[in-house]
């Protein structure tokens, strides 16, 4: 999808600060599905995900005044709100254990998949970027971004040196960047 031009983002923020309904509806249409996708990556229950989505929109709506364009793009700010709210929910619900177990399963699945298929680099379609990510990168990126693991925790859980975890994060994101740029 085309990203929103910068001037639009500025005006969107301006209108949101004025509590414009149109601006909100635009935000909802433009970013809602992405935010909902992010939340669903973190929490497993779809009803919880719906509750979190509502909280996230309320947070965006009431805290838009605190958004500082100098610190990053609007979408980054919103995705971080969505991630933090979902990870908080995960922890408060005691779901974090469930999450960690699921992540453990995912690790096993990914390893199996890695053994069964050669590099899945030529996957076709809109989802190619996801599928193209090597499992060993995907696991680490998901653990950090969607499950709130720190470098230290990832290193201990996977039995990898800290430096390796960081360089895999870099390689994984580099790989994604190449897919998007092609």
């Amino acid at each position: 999808m085309a990203t929103t031009p910068l001037y639009n983002e500025e005006e969107l923020v301006l209108l949101l600060k004025q509590q414009s309904r149109e601006a909100f509806n635009y935000l909802y249409k433009q970013y809602g599905a992405v935010l909902f996708g992010v939340i669903n990556k973190v929490v497993f229950d779809e009803h919880i995900a719906e509750d979190v989505l509502q909280d996230v929109f309320v947070k965006i709506w009431t805290n838009i005044g605190q958004y500082d364009p100098a610190k990053g793009r609007l979408y980054t700010w919103m995705i971080n709100i969505a991630r933090n709210a979902s990870i908080d929910k995960l922890r408060s619900k005691g779901e974090i254990m469930k999450g960690k177990i699921q992540t453990g399963e995912a690790v096993v699945n990914n390893l199996e998949r890695a053994m069964k298929t050669e590099q899945a680099t030529d996957t076709i379609g809109l989802r190619k970027m996801v599928a193209a990510l090597k499992p060993e990168y995907e696991t680490i990126i998901s653990m950090a971004y969607f499950k709130g693991y720190t470098l230290d925790e990832i290193s201990k859980t996977l039995g990898l040196p800290l430096g390796t975890v960081k360089t895999r994060m870099r390689s994984g994101i580099k790989q994604l960047r190449e897919v998007f740029n092609n």
């Binding site: 309320v58 995705i79 470098l151």
Partner: protein, 276 residues
């Protein structure tokens, strides 16, 4: 500091992914001012993560929209009362004690009247400008939506092209799976490269699965169905192709069934079947 080396270490990725401790974060933050190239790198990583997130976006259930709007303070509570937020704030004009001095009272009154007039005129034009700006924004939003739609169309065309290319490839067998439920015309396609065991699936003519349900792909080997995993809902009824996450070296037939979310060890309701 060698910024090249710093960037290569992956610390900025860990920063964006939220995997740093509070102190480590602060340290990275403090480096931004001195080395702008670090911040640029962070922006690039953030953009990549955004696009990554876009790739698994999930449509929000229709019913949620109203509920969420209702929950917004200042919008939900007086829904409809305020079409677009207006920022007109009442302004108080400070009356300086000087104004009350009789000697210059008239002059001041005139100045005050002029001032109020100019406020009103300013407000009028400002308000007008505001409307125009909002219209302009609405237009550009519309334009963006069109661009997005166009992109989607382009993606679909390239999907069709690649499926045609696969049909033309002699190394790849095209297996059309047909409906097994009378009265429900459904179909899906599987492209199978026996040589290396790769397979791609497209759910061209399968309806979107009902809530809580999911499609699952099967290969029939020696008369027994073997699961090849569940399929993403949003691929249903589109020409989108997905690589099957397993190697398939042998099989007599392929099938897709409707299962509960997460799939089942054996198929429940088979929808389409195709012989290899």
């Amino acid at each position: 500091m060698d910024t090249r080396e710093y960037i290569e270490s992956g610390i900025l990725e860990a920063y964006v992914l939220g995997a740093l401790s509070v102190e480590e974060r602060r340290e990275v933050d403090s480096n931004f001012a001195q080395y702008p190239e670090l911040q640029k790198e962070v922006r690039d990583i953030e953009e990549t993560m955004f696009r990554y997130c876009q790739s698994f976006a999930i449509n929000i259930p229709e019913a949620l929209h109203n509920k969420i709007e209702q929950a917004l303070p200042g919008l939900g509570a007086n829904a409809g009362a305020q079409e677009t937020g207006s920022t007109s704030k009442s302004r108080t004009i400070p009356l300086n004690p000087d104004y009350r001095r009789p000697t210059i009272m008239w002059r001041n009154a005139a100045a005050l009247a002029l001032f109020i007039c100019s406020l009103a005129v300013n407000y009028y034009f400002w308000d007008q400008g505001n409307h125009e700006r909002q219209e302009r924004i609405a237009l550009s939003l519309e334009m963006n939506k069109m661009k997005a739609d166009q992109q989607l169309q382009a993606d679909l065309v390239s999907e069709y092209r690649s499926s045609k290319a696969m049909m033309a490839d002699t190394g790849i067998q095209t297996i059309v799976m047909h409906t097994v439920l009378p009265g429900h015309p459904m179909a899906a396609t599987l492209y199978w490269s026996k040589g290396n065991g790769e397979a791609y699936v497209a759910m061209d003519a399968l309806p979107k699965p009902p809530k809580g349900m999911q499609y699952q792909l099967w290969v029939i080997q020696n008369g027994k169905p073997v699961s090849m995993g569940t399929l993403p809902d949003d691929m249903a009824n589109t020409p989108l192709m997905q690589k099957v996450g397993m190697q398939v070296m042998a099989g007599e037939a392929f099938a897709i069934s409707l299962e509960k979310r997460g799939g089942n060890p054996t198929p429940t309701t088979v929808y389409v079947v195709g012989k290899a």
